[in-house]
């Protein structure tokens, strides 16, 4: 396709700058995001066995609920009844107190069961916080900031990402036909990286468009609603109509679920949330899945149910029962979350996410290499300080992210019951920052080799931790350990390739060990 050369040149510049500004943050978002595809299996893998007595059957749930409400009246505001009790939802009944905008401090969740004599047991020990930690890392592109501060930054990066997608595609258009199926592996390493970058980018273009546009909405939806409310009125956040409390007895959870199953045979309920409004009205919401449809939440869709009759009232978020508008909105969420079509789609999204991370990594590499070329043309023998630092970050940030996530995952098994979100965060950032520091001190070429080995070792420590802790924490979800072993081997393989290249590649490359040895550190003064 013909495109004016000045446009190509202009978009090439734009692509380079937006890419270098957003690439490293996007690497973290995509690597962590790929892992969140399996947040539920990961949570099952990481959660130590529960100490609660075995959950009473669903038919006995009313007895458990009555005892919970008697001992913990604050649970009457809202509690969940879980239909499947497993490591993700470790009790028949759970409830949460505190949380956003409340004065009771941070949100705490409690889990309850009945012991052999029918006495109430309650514990705050729930599933491992690791899946949640990785999810937040993904949402906040790795920034350890307050959610309200991190989200606009993430939104700005998402907008840069949109520009990068458009500019990158335009730049590729003229040579599309000749370059599309070309992967020139050979002497010209930069050419090869460019081919890899182009192939990854073009073949996952729809995926990237979806991710970029949904991320803009996820970051800015509050501001968008506020702006619309300001401009067009209509009370963006009007109060829901108060429903007066009803007399009569609500249905038992088992009967309620039976009624829901009758009305929606394809919908598989997971849990029911009962909430009581300040006015006293009881409402029920059933969370569930239907693999034939996309889901509004990451792992579930929702049906609003009349707690007294079991009749499904609200289907806006219910897979398979939505009107066209709701189904369209849900499709945006589902396309981001990859929660339709079951395991094959989740694996496809996992691979697309890793491919995306590679896209940003190769983009950064290309940027550093072209700067090196420009600098050499300008007569510089050594790279400038900025190029060195960017080269170091291009190695340190991605490998630090991979190793940090691996270390904190392995720690989930070792820490067992005492694991908290804060500990996972501390471990991740300690490893992440150490990798970046090492890259800056040693320079990209030498640090790249060291850090690849270190990242491979931390990732291999995941299955090792599983084996060490097997006595206390029986084997579950072996796929996590197998995937970690595969990623560790991949990192080792990369180390071998890099090791050979560092010795044979061009001397002025950021990857040249000879140059790194000659000039010492990453400090241009030396």
């Amino acid at each position: 396709m013909k495109v004016r050369t000045d446009i190509i040149k202009m978009y090439k510049d734009v692509h380079g700058w937006v890419g270098i500004l957003s690439g490293l943050a996007l690497f973290i978002a995509f690597y962590a995001g790929a892992i969140t595809m399996f947040e539920e299996p990961l949570q099952r893998w990481a959660s130590p066995p529960v100490r609660l007595a075995p959950a009473p059957s669903l038919d006995k749930a009313p007895e458990l609920i009555a005892k919970v409400l008697a001992a913990h009246p604050e649970a009457s505001k809202g509690y969940d009844v879980n239909l499947v009790v497993d490591a993700n939802r470790p009790a028949r009944v759970s409830w949460a107190v505190g949380g956003r905008g409340e004065e009771h401090g941070p949100r705490k969740t409690f889990y309850a069961s009945l012991d052999g004599r029918g006495d109430l047991q309650a514990t705050e020990r729930g599933p491992s916080p690791i899946a949640q930690f990785i999810d937040v890392l993904h949402q906040q592109v790795g920034l350890p900031l307050d959610h309200e501060i991190a989200m606009p930054i993430m939104g700005a990066i998402a907008l840069l990402y949109c520009i990068a997608i458009v500019s990158g595609t335009v730049v590729l258009l003229p040579s599309l036909v000749s370059d599309l199926f070309a992967l020139r592996v050979g002497k010209n390493v930069k050419r090869m990286w460019l081919d890899v970058h182009n192939v990854l980018g073009l073949f996952s273009l729809p995926f990237h468009l979806i991710m970029a546009l949904t991320a803009v909405v996820f970051a800015f939806h509050d501001q968008f609603y506020d702006a619309q409310g300001l401009a067009f009125g209509g009370g963006a956040r009007e109060e829901r109509r108060a429903v007066p409390p009803r007399s009569g007895r609500p249905l038992d959870p088992a009967a309620l679920i039976a009624r829901v199953r009758e009305q929606a045979p394809g919908f598989s309920p997971i849990s029911v949330s009962f909430t009581r409004s300040p006015g006293g009205a009881l409402s029920a919401r059933v969370a569930g899945t239907d693999p034939r449809y996309g889901l509004r939440g990451p792992t579930a869709g929702f049906a609003g149910v009349d707690p007294y009759t079991g009749i499904i009232k609200a289907t806006d978020y219910m897979p398979g029962s939505q009107d066209r508008w709701s189904a369209t909105i849900t499709s945006f969420f589902a396309l981001h979350f990859g929660n339709f079509g079951g395991a094959p789609i989740r694996w496809a999204y996992f691979l697309l996410g890793l491919a995306g991370a590679m896209l940003f990594y190769t983009g950064n590499l290309l940027w550093v290499e072209s700067r090196r070329k420009k600098e050499r043309k300008a007569g510089l023998v050594e790279q400038t300080r900025a190029t060195r630092i960017l080269g170091a970050l291009t190695v340190g940030v991605p490998l630090g992210c991979v190793a940090g996530i691996s270390a904190t995952l392995a720690a989930a098994k070792l820490l067992g019951e005492s694991a908290t979100s804060g500990m996972h965060s501390a471990i991740y950032y300690a490893v992440f920052l150490a990798f970046i520091g090492w890259a800056l001190i040693r320079g990209a070429a030498r640090a790249g080799l060291d850090l690849l080995i270190a990242a491979a070792a931390t990732t291999a420590s995941i299955p090792i931790a599983t084996v060490i802790m097997a006595g206390k924490h029986p084997f579950t979800v072996p796929m996590v350990d197998i995937t970690a072993a595969l990623i560790a081997s991949g990192l080792l393989l990369t180390w071998r390739v890099m090791h050979n290249r560092a010795r044979g590649g061009p001397r002025d490359s950021v990857w040249s060990i000879a140059a790194a040895n000659a000039s010492g550190r990453c400090n241009p003064a030396s």
Binding site: D6, Y11, V166, L213, V216, V217, L230, A231, R237
Partner: protein, 95 residues
């Protein structure tokens, strides 16, 4: 035709960012008017109107570099926003 360069990126991209948002917000307002949406937060049509902002804003921001100059970017995008918001005002879609 004048050649485009990346040198005036700041002027063009700030037009894309600011006027692009105004244009996107106006577009969502026209949609709300056409679809007859009262509120935004709870109705799914209203949510769709909110979602519309992202693709319009991102497209303007991505393609604003094609304008011949900063002045052209501000001029054309200003004109487009003026038309959308003028139409909204005329149809009574603004609070």
């Amino acid at each position: 035709m004048a050649e485009v360069t990346s040198r005036d990126w700041f002027g063009k991209s700030s037009a894309g960012l600011l006027l692009g948002f105004l244009l996107a917000l106006g577009t969502s307002g026209l949609f709300k008017l056409a679809a007859g949406v009262g509120d935004t937060f709870f109705s799914t049509k209203g949510q769709f109107a909110m979602w519309l902002i992202a693709p319009v804003w991102a497209s303007v921001l991505s393609f604003c570099f094609l304008f011949a100059s900063t002045r052209a970017a501000w001029g054309w995008l200003g004109l487009a926003s003026g038309m959308v918001w003028g139409l909204l005002l005329a149809l009574g879609g603004v609070a």
